[in-house]
């Protein structure tokens, strides 16, 4: 008979070996999919307000990299009879735009894109007739934002009143910030030296936040939504405007954006809807099997603005461009002397927008 304690010692040896084994089995995740390049992406938004109407045409590139704009396409706006009513002008980087044309409520529009021998056309999309009222507000709080640690966060809210009609309404909001950034006044030529014009820098707040609301399955007529959040920084030293563009879209467009929201918010959890390619309403006329990404949407649009000043900010802000008479010119940061340097790729202008009015 084998003694129990002998067995135990041997068991222990076997067990220790078990412990050693998995060390080499633990791997880091190394998962990169095969990249598909060259898929066509067309996105256009046509609204009922006087603004720059834009279509973007691009191609996908390697995983993780931004798509590449296609500047040599011909882009047309079509009416409900599928007649060309306007041609978009290429402004580079795959962007095409038209001015002076806006959508009419209840009308149907499409776009047509010619690229080499291929003709792409979107479905006709009807401009919705309903619109909601947004009442904006904001706050500054300390809370976890991009990290677990509390940060100073600026949050924009909308208290939205839906029309009392029972007709379905589908809403999407985009939120853009515009702030003024005065350049430091340094001695120069001229008498007196001209004051450098301030920069008006604009950017979308939280571009990957999709604000959607489906008003079709609810009796709620007034709802309060968080539309955007951003970290508080020295952009709030001077007046800071938030422009909220409410897009009333049709059901198909809403479903498209809902799918986009699913794929960008997928966290891989058990209960997540598995991701899938999102197909829009644009197709190759000759070859319907070709995958065309993107969407052409029409929207009834309303822009609402709110602004904040330094007096509203409960946090201490440092002005990096404060002028000191004895400070050498070259010791000022480049963002104090150049709008381009401050904007860091964001849109900017020296001219105040026509709505730049505050008390």
């Amino acid at each position: 008979m084998i003694k129990n304690h002998h067995i135990s010692i041997r068991f222990l040896l076997v067990f220790l070996l078990y412990l050693v084994l998995p060390v080499s089995c633990i791997d880091k995740l190394d998962f990169v999919g095969e990249t598909k390049e060259g898929q066509l992406v067309i996105y256009g938004l046509f609204t009922d307000i006087n603004e720059r109407q834009v279509v973007n045409v691009s191609q996908t590139t390697a995983t993780g990299l931004a798509p590449k704009g296609i500047p040599n396409a011909q882009v047309y706006l079509l009416n409900s009879r599928e007649e060309r009513v306007a041609r978009y002008n290429s402004v580079g980087n795959g962007d095409y735009e038209i001015f002076g044309i806006k959508a009419n409520e209840g009308e149907r529009y499409a776009i047509e894109v010619t690229l080499g021998d291929n003709l792409y056309r979107s479905k006709l999309e009807k401009v919705p007739e309903l619109q909601a009222e947004d009442q904006l507000s904001f706050d500054f709080v300390k809370e976890p934002f991009r990290t677990e640690a509390p940060e100073s966060v600026f949050t924009v809210y909308s208290e939205t009143m839906l029309p009392t009609t029972q007709d379905p309404i589908y809403l999407r909001w985009t939120v853009e910030e515009t702030y003024i950034w005065p350049l430091v006044y340094l001695p120069g030529t001229g008498f007196p030296p001209p004051v450098p014009p301030p920069c008006f820098i604009s950017d979308v707040i939280e571009p990957n936040r999709l604000n959607l609301f489906d008003g079709s399955g609810t009796s709620t007529r007034r709802t309060k939504l968080v539309l955007a959040k951003r970290k508080v920084d020295n952009s709030f030293l001077y007046p800071f405007f938030v422009s909220v563009k409410q897009l009333s879209i049709n059901r198909e467009a809403y479903e498209y954006w809902e799918k986009i929201k699913i794929v960008i918010n997928n966290q891989g959890s058990l209960f997540d809807i598995p991701p899938a390619p999102v197909f829009g309403n644009i197709a190759n006329v000759e070859d319907p099997n070709e995958t065309v990404l993107g969407y052409f949407e029409v929207a009834k649009t309303k822009v609402t603005r709110i602004y904040t000043t330094r007096a509203d900010v409960p946090f201490y802000l440092v002005d990096p461009c404060q002028f000191f008479p004895n400070k050498p010119d070259d010791s000022y940061a480049s963002e104090c002397k150049s709008c381009d340097a401050r904007a860091q790729g964001r849109r900017w202008t020296n001219n105040a927008p026509d709505w730049w009015k505050f008390d």
Binding site: Y18, P22, E34, T61, G64, T218, T220
Partner: protein, 826 residues
């Protein structure tokens, strides 16, 4: 004159007894035994002792056959032991001792290895030289007195050779307890996933995938009653309390014709009957689960009951997590089992079984689930004649589910569920060489209306309710097991399944020439009652066994199975709340063809069992969801689904060590599970209609279960699991729409997550108090804390738009648990 009287009494153990010590030096297959060899640990296995006896006949002419008879008793109590199996030359002969402990055998003259076995008793081995009729009385002792040896199986060890059906896995609770499990709970599903051919999508997903089948293609039963909701804690545990469990049988090859309704496999879990003589029970306190068991005679010798309950207490573990969301989460579950058995006569008895399970899970303030399940059955077992028995069963099942979202703009919940009535009558007619099973089964399903309801009074959700289907499935069946010779057996049967979807129902009409979508609806027909649609089909079942040279056998099987009830889900994996969906006008029933072939060989007096099996299955009308399917509160669910062909094939290797100081098994499975959608409309085809891997396709699976029997009831157990990473849908490219960086996902299930690896261990020992019958179970699940990927998601790195892949692990650390159990009454 009784047979016993005819036996000529030979000399009292004429031959001399000789004890032969036969040390087993077999190296356990697989990793453990390579390790053992490497560290030079020989002779670890326990010894098998043969007692040699010779019976001789002096005065009569020699005969070809002689009788061997005797009585088996308990060595300490002298109690006659009924049901002791007698194995001759490595085979279970079908002979068991009767209620008086008597047995009688007719054997060829010559030398035979005879083993007497009963679970919980130490087997006794004899080497009998039979040259005359003889009497051999045998005494067995409890295994408690056996310190270094253990016999794994409650069932016969050579069953894998003798059983006529391929692809059968059978195990009892004592074996189940030896496999380390999550929360230290002995669990059927956990054990099954360490057996060949059984996998799951991953931790935290309900259900099992058996031989490449979907989770809903398994018929899961408790005492032959269908149990639709059968897991706790998002799938970590099954709903069947190990304390009340007797054994389980999984048919993954040729499923007998008396089981049907699913297209892949059948799993029947037998629950224990209460003790008819004394009241006893046990209570367990654990780090995650508390349990109570009470059983005993309501009417001594006539009526017994067993009550077993489990209640989770895992929330304190969540409180200690680092994540705020996890701290704010909550998980509760319970199950209650009640079994009452009444014996009218020796030939007639009645069983009542009731299982109630409930789960509540809330993730932070974001979403949650609440589901409960009730299954009750009444079974009458009647022996009409010595050759004919009838079993009748009626059952009721109910499943309710709530999915709630408390934090959205309009807090809401969705409620759905179903209930069903099941009736089954089965006859068994036993002839000389043929056993005939016959009967019929019927199930009436009624889906509960699905409702969208406001969760709070402030919520503006407009309540919505849709009516769901009802249907009836019924099937007569017959099968015969024919054993023409010792070495050959055939089992054949047929089931004729019928399904009728009954009104009321709204049948949507769709535009022709385009896919069925929400937008292609052109009308709706309402049917208040009567037949909406009907499907039926013959389901032939066949299997054979050919045993040559007594330790080798070849078995094969073929079966056709129809399925009229399936789950639909578009979650990453199967979840406990997946919607059950009956076949309708647009959702055709699944129909599978299953073929399997296996080679089985035992070694060393059945101490080792090995098998190699291959399988191949095709399934018509397998369900798949369309991209971004909207399944809840959808009156035209067919617009979100697509059907296709399923294909599964593979091979399974099992090497099992049944007795000795170390027991366990090594299982390797190669398995593929593929699907292709077969719509005539390319725009709704998944992956362009090409074959693609299902999300549970894991080609390679290895599991090694090792039980070290240290003695005095102590065991140290390990469970090592490896499997290929499962398919996921991955990122193909990126693009920008409206300033939003959007990941463009590739074909469904095109990529794979990293391989899965996990080690569990458990140590079972006696408790602290000598006078009590107390036990301790210490176990560690995922000992190495390996963060096994469950799925992959893509997230921006910092402030750049670049998307990088991240893996998510359901259980990313070691999970220790401790359970203390005290048994009372004996």
């Amino acid at each position: 004159m009784s047979l016993k009287d005819q036996i000529f009494f030979s000399s009292q153990t004429v031959g001399k007894q000789r004890i032969k010590r036969n040390l087993n030096k077999v190296v356990f297959c697989g990793l453990t035994f390579l390790i053992l060899a490497a560290v030079g640990i020989p002779n670890l296995l326990a010894q098998t002792v043969f007692t040699e006896i010779r019976f001789e006949q002096q005065d009569f002419p020699k005969r070809a056959q002689y009788f061997l008879t005797g009585k088996v008793t308990h060595l300490e109590t002298n109690e006659n032991l009924a049901g002791v199996s007698v194995h001759i030359d490595g085979f279970f002969t079908g002979n068991n001792t009767d209620k008086n402990g008597q047995y009688i055998l007719s054997l060829d003259s010559g030398r035979h290895r005879i083993v007497f076995r009963q679970f919980g008793k130490r087997p006794v081995h004899y080497l009998v030289q039979l040259y005359g009729d003889g009497i051999l009385d045998v005494g067995l002792v409890n295994l408690d007195f056996e310190l270094e040896a253990f016999t794994v199986e409650a069932d016969e060890r050579d069953r894998n050779i003798r059983s006529p059906i391929t692809g059968v896995t059978k195990m009892d609770i004592n074996d189940i307890k030896l496999v380390p499990a999550f929360m230290g709970e002995p669990d059927v599903f956990n054990v099954l996933q360490s057996m060949p051919g059984v996998t799951s999508v991953g931790e935290g997903s309900a259900g099992m995938n058996i031989r490449g089948g979907q989770a809903d293609q398994n018929l899961i039963m408790m005492n032959e009653t269908i149990v639709l909701s059968n897991s706790h804690a998002l799938g970590f545990l099954s709903s069947f309390n190990g304390d009340a469990l007797q054994n389980f049988t999984l048919y993954k090859g040729a499923v007998p014709s008396y089981f049907g309704g699913r297209s892949s496999s059948a799993l029947n879990i037998e629950m224990r009957k209460g003790d008819k003589e004394t009241w006893k029970g046990s209570g367990s306190l654990g780090t995650a689960v508390n349990k109570l068991l009470i059983e005993g005679p309501i009417v001594p010798e006539k009526t017994s009951m067993i009550f077993a309950s489990r209640l989770s207490n895992a929330n304190w573990l969540l409180d200690r997590a680092n994540e705020v969301d996890v701290q704010n989460s909550k998980i509760n579950f319970h199950d209650i089992y009640l079994g009452i058995n009444h014996q009218f006569t020796e030939k007639n008895n009645l069983d009542f079984n009731l299982l109630n399970t409930g789960d509540f899970f809330r993730f932070s303030n974001q979403f949650g689930f609440d589901w409960n399940n009730l299954v009750g059955s009444l079974t009458s077992r009647n022996l009409l004649t010595d050759d004919l028995s009838l079993v009748g069963m009626v059952a009721y099942g109910s499943f309710n589910n709530t999915f709630f979202e408390p934090s959205e703009v309009d807090p809401s919940k969705i409620e759905n569920g179903l209930y069903y009535f099941q009736g089954k009558i089965t006859g068994l007619w036993t002839l000389d060489k043929v056993d005939i099973n016959f009967g019929a089964e019927a199930i009436q399903y009624q889906m509960r209306p699905e409702s969208l309801i406001a969760l709070t009074s402030e919520s503006g959700i407009l309540p919505e309710t849709i009516r769901k289907e009802r249907g009836m499935e019924y099937a007569p069946f017959i099968s015969a097991d024919w054993n023409p010779t010792e070495s050959l057996s055939f089992s054949g049967g047929i089931r004729y399944s019928n399904y009728i979807q009954q009104g009321p129902d709204s049948i949507f009409r769709y535009e022709e020439g385009v896919p069925n979508t929400r937008l292609s609806i052109i009308g709706v027909d309402f049917m208040e009652s009567g037949k909406v649609v009907r499907y039926n089909g013959f389901e032939p079942r066949f299997s054979f066994r050919w045993t040559f040279d007594k330790v080798n056998s070849i078995k094969g099987g073929y079966s056709v199975m129809n399925q009229y009830l399936q789950t639909i889900s578009n979650a990453t994996g199967p979840t406990p709340i997946d919607l059950w969906q009956l076949s309708t006008t647009y959702i055709k029933p699944q129909r599978s063809h299953n073929a399997s072939l296996g080679f089985f060989r035992n070694f060393k007096e059945d101490e080792w069992s090995t098998s190699l099996e291959g399988f191949y299955r095709t399934t018509a009308n397998q369900l798949e969801y369309r991209d971004f399917a909207d399944l809840f509160v959808n009156p035209h669910i067919e617009t979100e689904l697509i059907q296709g062909e399923g294909l599964a094939y593979g091979a399974e290797l099992l090497i099992q060590k049944n007795s000795g100081g170390i027991t366990g098994w090594l299982a390797y499975t190669f398995s593929r599970s593929l699907i292709r959608t077969t719509s005539e409309f390319p725009e709704i085809q998944v992956n362009q209609g090409n074959w693609f891997a299902t999300n549970f396709d894991k080609p390679h699976n290895i599991s090694l279960v090792t039980n070290f029997h240290i003695g005095r009831g102590r065991t140290f157990n390990t469970n090592v699991n490896f499997s290929s990473g499962r398919p996921v849908t991955g990122l193909s490219s990126n693009y920008v729409v409206g300033g939003i960086f959007v990941p463009n996902f590739g074909n469904r299930n095109e990529f794979r997550i990293p391989n899965y690896f996990r080690i569990d261990l458990s140590y079972l020992t006696n408790g602290f108090v000598r006078k009590w019958d107390d036990k301790i179970n210490f176990s560690v699940y995922n000992l190495t804390g390996r963060r096994n990927a469950y799925s992959v998601f893509f997230q921006r790195e910092g402030r750049t738009p670049r998307l990088v892949p991240y893996q998510i692990s359901i259980l990313g650390s070691a999970f220790p648990s401790f359970t203390y159990t005290v048994a009372f009454g004996k």
